[in-house]
């Protein structure tokens, strides 16, 4: 367990140091890459709460990512065109203030997670995967056919949204904003995993009859986890919109849901820093292999297969050893026996 903590710290410091180094060398593209890692990792931290802790294989998390992205895009587009979002009994103006945008992204994604979770959590296994996938696709096709906000073409954010007192146009500043939010989300995820709620949720993943028999309803645990998970991934979507200054329906695509899941698995499911390791590896592969071949996803697929078959704990598991180490870090092994 010590090794995992050391590795996590190194990863955290590395992700922080890389863009600073790029900034010193005047390489803004590398800063952007690091920012993508931070944002994707944040989306993965969200998914990991549902997937790792709750055992909920959601193939619809792009839905939350897209909702966060569109929250940013829609609010910014109204602010840019000086047209109110709603003008009736009262008026809602657009805004380019990140703090407001984040709040809207988190609340909107959380609410959608509440509704879709309440329905899909009545099923389990493959049905749950299919229902979350279907909800994601509903949003995807809805945004495509919604001309008011660009339809298939998406929406542009001409000037990056602002944060009080900071120059968000500076790549390093924007990176630091994303990195700080990622760090907070990791802290939150760590606290949840070690909490009473986390203990019960994790037990429900392993054996739901046991949890019912002690008088705790797994459905409610999972719904809360799903909402927190969706809200965090939604926040990542809002940051992603600001990184690209652009949102489009592809943010809702099931391929994106799959990619988030892939890199969480690569990094290590249920490992605190699994999404960070996975997102970094994913972007690294995309850069290295993507430059060599357009078909780099095939190699990603091969790697995924290897991880799933031979390295269940993902990258973190390979480096820090087995054992789902998120919850406590105070497990002892009986004399060499293993399962």
């Amino acid at each position: 367990m010590r090794r995992e903590a050391i590795f996590n710290t190194a990863l955290w410091l590395g992700l922080l140091a890389y863009p600073v180094w790029a900034w010193l060398g005047d390489e803004p593209y590398q800063i952007t890459l690091a920012t993508r890692v931070a944002i994707l990792a944040l989306a993965g931290v969200g998914l990991n709460i549902a997937l790792g802790l709750g055992g909920l294989v959601s193939l619809g998390h792009a839905m939350f990512f897209g909702i966060g992205g569109y929250a940013a895009g829609i609010l910014a587009s109204h602010a840019q065109s000086y047209t109110p979002l709603y003008d009736g009994a009262f008026t809602i103006e657009g805004t380019q203030n990140m703090l407001v945008i984040w709040l809207v992204a988190v609340v909107a994604a959380g609410l959608v997670a509440l509704v879709t979770g309440a329905l899909s959590l009545r099923t389990s296994g493959v049905y749950f995967i299919m229902i979350t996938l279907a909800f994601g696709q509903m949003f995807y096709y809805f945004t495509i056919s919604w001309p008011a906000y660009g339809g298939e073409d998406g929406l542009s954010i001409y000037v990056r949204n602002w944060f009080p007192g900071l120059n968000t146009l500076d790549p390093l500043t924007f990176f630091l904003i994303c990195f700080s939010i990622l760090s907070l989300a990791l802290l939150l995820s760590w606290r949840i995993a070690g909490s009473a709620f986390g203990l019960a949720l994790n037990a429900a993943r392993q054996n739901e009859d046991r949890v019912r028999a002690v008088g705790i309803e797994p459905y409610r645990l999972r719904l809360v986890a799903f909402v927190i998970s969706g809200a965090i991934t939604g926040l990542a979507g809002a940051l992603y919109a600001d990184l690209n200054r652009f949102v489009s329906p592809t943010m809702f695509s099931w391929q994106l849901s799959g990619e988030i899941m892939v890199f969480v698995i690569l990094g290590g499911v249920a490992r605190l820093f699994g999404p960070v390791a996975g997102a970094a590896l994913f972007i690294l592969l995309e850069e290295v292999l993507g430059g060599v071949s357009d078909y780099w996803h095939i190699w990603l697929g091969v790697l995924l297969l290897i991880v799933v078959l031979f390295a269940r704990g993902g990258l973190i598991g390979l480096i820090a050893g087995q054992g789902t180490g998120q919850a406590t870090g105070q497990r002892k092994r009986a004399g060499g026996a293993d399962d």
């Binding site: 909490s195 392993q206 002690v214 008088g215 105070q330």
Partner: protein, 254 residues
């Protein structure tokens, strides 16, 4: 006579053409161990599942401390004080022994589950869990992963988790199965003590243990209760001997 803690009346349950419970009526009084015996496939586990709420009876009622709980969920019944141990150990295998016991203590608390505070630092929960583990003799194994425990230790942990629930009634489905002579010898005095905490409806195949422990015995055959009586009366009941033909229910079982 006082109102029984648990009263099961006219429970019937069919799986297709198979009658797993047929008009089962049974009660459990404070301070007693009521053993439920019967050949394999008689419907004992099915009956426990219906009492615990995992399976809905086709008809009949289940009353806990005078309240009809027949329509309630497993979760509601657990909260009302029905604690159950499973015939096949049902635990969180990746978690530690202590964590499993703490899960029980957490359920018993019946409050909101904290999202942020460290559960392992919750001394109240830890103490409840520790006390239950000590009670069943698993104190030293608190830090072990359940997956690394022996079969017998898992059975003990099942009992410990049930104890953390501060139960009003204990339903135990073959707690001694596969324990061996030594494990059984540990479990018997423990159940003897426990019945004063909460009455026990005990399913058990080990007839020595049953006759040592039970205050009353009911015999279930093909889903029907053919006799309920004191151990000595059951031993000599001709219908019971017939049903158990070939089984070890001899005079040596005392």
């Amino acid at each position: 006579m006082t109102e029984p803690v648990l009263r099961i009346s006219g429970i019937t349950k069919s799986f297709g053409a198979l009658r797993a419970s047929e008009d089962v009526t049974l009660d459990l009084c404070a301070g007693e161990i009521h053993a439920l015996i019967g050949p394999n496939g008689a419907g004992k586990s099915t009956l426990i599942a219906q009492i615990a709420g995992a399976l809905a009876p086709d008809s009949g009622t289940i009353k806990l401390e005078g309240r009809d709980v027949t329509a309630q969920s497993t979760v509601a019944r657990a909260r009302a004080g029905l604690a159950r141990t499973f015939q096949i150990s049902s635990l969180a295998m990746e978690d530690t022994v202590l964590q499993n016991a703490m899960l029980g203590a957490l359920g018993a608390r019946q409050g909101r589950l904290g999202l942020f505070g460290s559960v392992m630092r919750d001394t109240g929960l830890r103490e409840t869990a520790r006390a239950a583990l000590d009670e069943v003799g698993l104190g030293e194994f608190a830090g072990f992963r359940v997956g690394d425990l022996s079969h017998g230790q898992r059975r003990q942990l099942e009992v410990a988790v049930a104890l953390t629930l501060k139960p009003r009634v204990l339903l135990m489905d073959e707690p001694m199965a596969g324990l061996g002579a030594e494990g059984t010898a540990q479990m018997v005095p423990m159940l003897q003590r426990l019945k004063h905490t909460a009455p026990i409806l005990l399913i058990e195949h080990d007839m020595d243990a049953v006759f040592q422990l039970a205050d009353r015995i009911s015999v279930l055959v093909y889903g029907q209760i053919i006799a309920t009586d004191a151990p000595d009366a059951i031993r000599t009941d001709p219908r019971v001997r017939e049903a158990y033909l070939g089984d070890d229910l001899g005079e040596d079982a005392v």
